[in-house]
Point group: D2
Amino acid sequence: MVIQLKKDITEQNKNLIIKKLENSKYSCSQVKTQKDNYLVAIGKNEIDIRRIGSMNGVNDIHRVDDNYKLVSRKWKTEYSKINLGDGIKIGNDDFAIMAGPCSIENEEQIIDTVNHLKKNNIKIMRGGVFKPRSSPYSFRGLGIEGLKLFSKHCKNAGIKIITEVMQVSQIEDMIEYVDVFQVGARNSQNFNLLDELGKTNIPVMLKRGLAGTIDELLFSAEYIFSAGNEQIILCERGIRSYEKAYRNTLDVNAIPLLKEKTHLPVVVDPSHAIGIRQFVKPLALASIMAGADGIIFETHKQPEVAFSDGQQTLNYTEAEKLYDNMKKTYKFRKTLDLMP
Amino acid sequence: MVIQLKKDITEQNKNLIIKKLENSKYSCSQVKTQKDNYLVAIGKNEIDIRRIGSMNGVNDIHRVDDNYKLVSRKWKTEYSKINLGDGIKIGNDDFAIMAGPCSIENEEQIIDTVNHLKKNNIKIMRGGVFKPRSSPYSFRGLGIEGLKLFSKHCKNAGIKIITEVMQVSQIEDMIEYVDVFQVGARNSQNFNLLDELGKTNIPVMLKRGLAGTIDELLFSAEYIFSAGNEQIILCERGIRSYEKAYRNTLDVNAIPLLKEKTHLPVVVDPSHAIGIRQFVKPLALASIMAGADGIIFETHKQPEVAFSDGQQTLNYTEAEKLYDNMKKTYKFRKTLDLMP
Amino acid sequence: MVIQLKKDITEQNKNLIIKKLENSKYSCSQVKTQKDNYLVAIGKNEIDIRRIGSMNGVNDIHRVDDNYKLVSRKWKTEYSKINLGDGIKIGNDDFAIMAGPCSIENEEQIIDTVNHLKKNNIKIMRGGVFKPRSSPYSFRGLGIEGLKLFSKHCKNAGIKIITEVMQVSQIEDMIEYVDVFQVGARNSQNFNLLDELGKTNIPVMLKRGLAGTIDELLFSAEYIFSAGNEQIILCERGIRSYEKAYRNTLDVNAIPLLKEKTHLPVVVDPSHAIGIRQFVKPLALASIMAGADGIIFETHKQPEVAFSDGQQTLNYTEAEKLYDNMKKTYKFRKTLDLMP
Amino acid sequence: MVIQLKKDITEQNKNLIIKKLENSKYSCSQVKTQKDNYLVAIGKNEIDIRRIGSMNGVNDIHRVDDNYKLVSRKWKTEYSKINLGDGIKIGNDDFAIMAGPCSIENEEQIIDTVNHLKKNNIKIMRGGVFKPRSSPYSFRGLGIEGLKLFSKHCKNAGIKIITEVMQVSQIEDMIEYVDVFQVGARNSQNFNLLDELGKTNIPVMLKRGLAGTIDELLFSAEYIFSAGNEQIILCERGIRSYEKAYRNTLDVNAIPLLKEKTHLPVVVDPSHAIGIRQFVKPLALASIMAGADGIIFETHKQPEVAFSDGQQTLNYTEAEKLYDNMKKTYKFRKTLDLMP
């Protein structure tokens, strides 16, 4: 059960509600986000919700029979929109393109990429400064100094930054320079990190785990929301399957299913999904037709000399064709109605 | 190595070629299809192909470094088109829609469906008369008598039939009534069945195995081709993954990969892939944007009383919206260039 | 519901039972095997089974709430034993070792292997004469002539033969020479083949599909049983997983689960499971400790020149150590009680 | 390349070695552990290792062609033994049993379990105080206060503690009370956590990821080792597969493969692997026969009222039978030679 409380509800009235719920064997969690004030009540023995709905301080009340609650569309049927400021938005009829290199490598590369994005009117740049790498001997990113450079040039150009945060202690250092925190696939169930990101007011893009289920992804989003941060973007980035012909297997099925189950925007990363440059375009366009609210992909001036992931990275010419095709496809999709 | 022979090559000249290849440690297979005459030569120690290319009776010669040969685009870069007659074609700029019930249930249902398809100008009807079922106690289809009825009404209406063949002994009985033989996922590596279908001149739609790899699918197609039948359509129908939220996981990645690797047309079955009615449409449209040459899906006048697969079957109203959307999407896709 | 009928039940009495069941919305299948006479009744609305149990001609009656019926331990709690004759048995305290080459290659190899097995007192020889191969250009086995040679030497030595049957039309040719028909992983849901094998009185070893579920395996066994053949052995041979370090992933979990769910014997094939020679032994011994009723593995005089699967095949010295270790391990296991 | 340096090597001599390696395009990492002093050199262009081996300060030098280095058996063929003190050891002929509840629930439960373990001469107790849970609304453990109680009673009884650490900031608080840090499956690639655990001198048991590969597991172990901690235990705990009949799929194949590739001990967790109480025993015994150096499993006085994982938890009577059977099986295994 999700209970939306009035912002000015008194402590006394809130306690009355909680007491009534606990008497009916519900356990209650109080959630205060940037936007709103909730009670999440979990219990087996459903009571007549009108008895709660009519209490003082209650704005609205909804049964939610999913296991996750606040991220469910069962109580919030309208899709959420994430606002990055300066008119840049994601979700609910705002389509987002995020592009840039796998890793931030040096200042020159940042400037190059920023110029490329400005020229193409792309408003969000991706680029890793903390890189999760299977091997401890691989390049692990430029760190916070790289992020400061990244931020300086993007701010000047009016471009927003999405970059990965790997652990709790980085949040404080990064928060000044980041517009969207990315949680990588390997941290998709790093619950402490999710809790702490839930205490910030910076949007979070949460990637599905390497072999994460839809339910696990939504539960992880519930961690962030229930800790206080409603600004969550989900990202499908390919799952692990038996097929060896691709790096991962883009799970296009997840897109319409997530759009059915949650009000959160869904972004797709075709670069990490298939891992082969020449197939990024058809997968990006397919994802849009399946209902994606945005695409994040890798581009680099010279993919062949990129520090990481070169084999799945588009050069600028390829990226420009993709921007154009994605915009056309999104516009076309809006002329149809995807649901039956 | 694929060697295209002249149709009027003499036995003597052919034997000279084979002998030369065998001297260079190649093993040779002679393939005679409806269309052409080939030698497939397999060996480790590649010789100068011009020495073979200049021999009498050779039309053309191509190195093919894939493990499969005749189905590879390494020797035939132009996409194949499958011709069902009466102007109905699949592949290479002919988009195919195949619709109908999971199982043929009775004559009334056939007539209903035929009328529905005619009204919507859909030219290929699907419907099973031999049904592979996990349990021996489930409905296994109407058999050959059902197929005769199916054929009678389709022929009258100018509609082509695609239906599943489960074993070698059915081929002879079915051949008069079938326009496309479907090989189901469970028979994707039933090599004897593939061999025998290769001896017919009826097009074959080959479904990917339940957990079949791209390579296995192409090898299975190679069985059919090398036995003499070039008219092969591949079908992606969802793979088995760890995710329990769907029946199977549509592998959209397979579509552009197959279009890169083989000249054969690629059809997608979103109904069996995701197994949930309301998501068939977005997956169908996504598949088209990924490069599919056709869509096969399940429709029924009353899905809720269908003998099988009702939960993934569209009713006629839903199907009509999907026909319209698919045609628009295919037309839209042709305005773009999918490859980078 | 499984109803064991008396052997001398009259048609009239049988029809009375069926009628009573059909009146209660059950659908009935009559099953007559080598051993017994059954009715399998499937329905949602369970009736009081005593009302059926007391009818004339009924030997015994059991509710079976599994989806498969005749192969379930819900009606037959005692484990089945498969008798190959000459005192050679599998299951229910008879542990079976089956060894031999992947493919039968020539008469000399047969004689060699037979001598090796005789010396080690191994009573069942494996060896393929019809080989399912991904590529149509690979060696497909010696066929029926190879089987005749295989049979000749085994009969003389008192050794039983297990070999793969790939299609219905081979059954008749093979039946004279085979002691156990093997159904390969790719044919695990070739329902027509299962039906036909169910009409023979030769034991069948059914391999789990490449990505087959436990339920699918048991349903496939139900096909054979319900067609009349109770002599079924199940074989775990590795499943397809995301892990690339092995050929397949031996699913040791399947062993105790199958021993819980079905009365049929369970044999394990570690050679095809892991696909790496040096790990065949620990996996064989682990499988025995998990409850396996037998082990089938590949051995060859010179694995490095075997026609197929050499990398997973033991030489005779290795095989001899394995026979010894397996026998000791089985003996040791019998001193424990595997269930909690 | 792994270079073992003398403990008293001068900075000057070390720099000479590094310089020589860098001149040959190697990149070098200095690793100083509790035990030893290493250089890990990574490069494509292998030089004659004798030129390095003869330099001052070098103890030994080994080519390691695996991608991971320090955890590989290519340089250290003898198996490692982890010493927990008081004669309690894991690996290299010391078999370890770790048992206890999923979650530490209260003091009474700790005392009960400790008494049970003492009675059975089991020396290592498991129990979670920080619990990773899919849902933010589930019980997340008693935290550090629970750990203090846990520690108090175990110390008195001479029992060692293994418990999960979920994030970097917990290490400092926990370190006084923990004998083995457990890294859970969801944190298997939490590289920051691995780095920090590498700076402690407490043994670490690293679980394989939910769908982690063997290579990823070894790379994660390499993080810990290369950060300075050699005391690493690997844990196979079931992988995610398509099969829905079990919670996870115990990958018994991983055991002999890991014993071949790494010198680190390998422990198996059958409880989380199959997730069904009655199959824990056969899987534990099978794992021992496959080469496991230890078993960790869940036991609880009353599994049916456990706070978490009750369905896979043994009661004390079942646990006692398992201790006995495991000890016998390990003893039996030592009479055989598992490798071929």
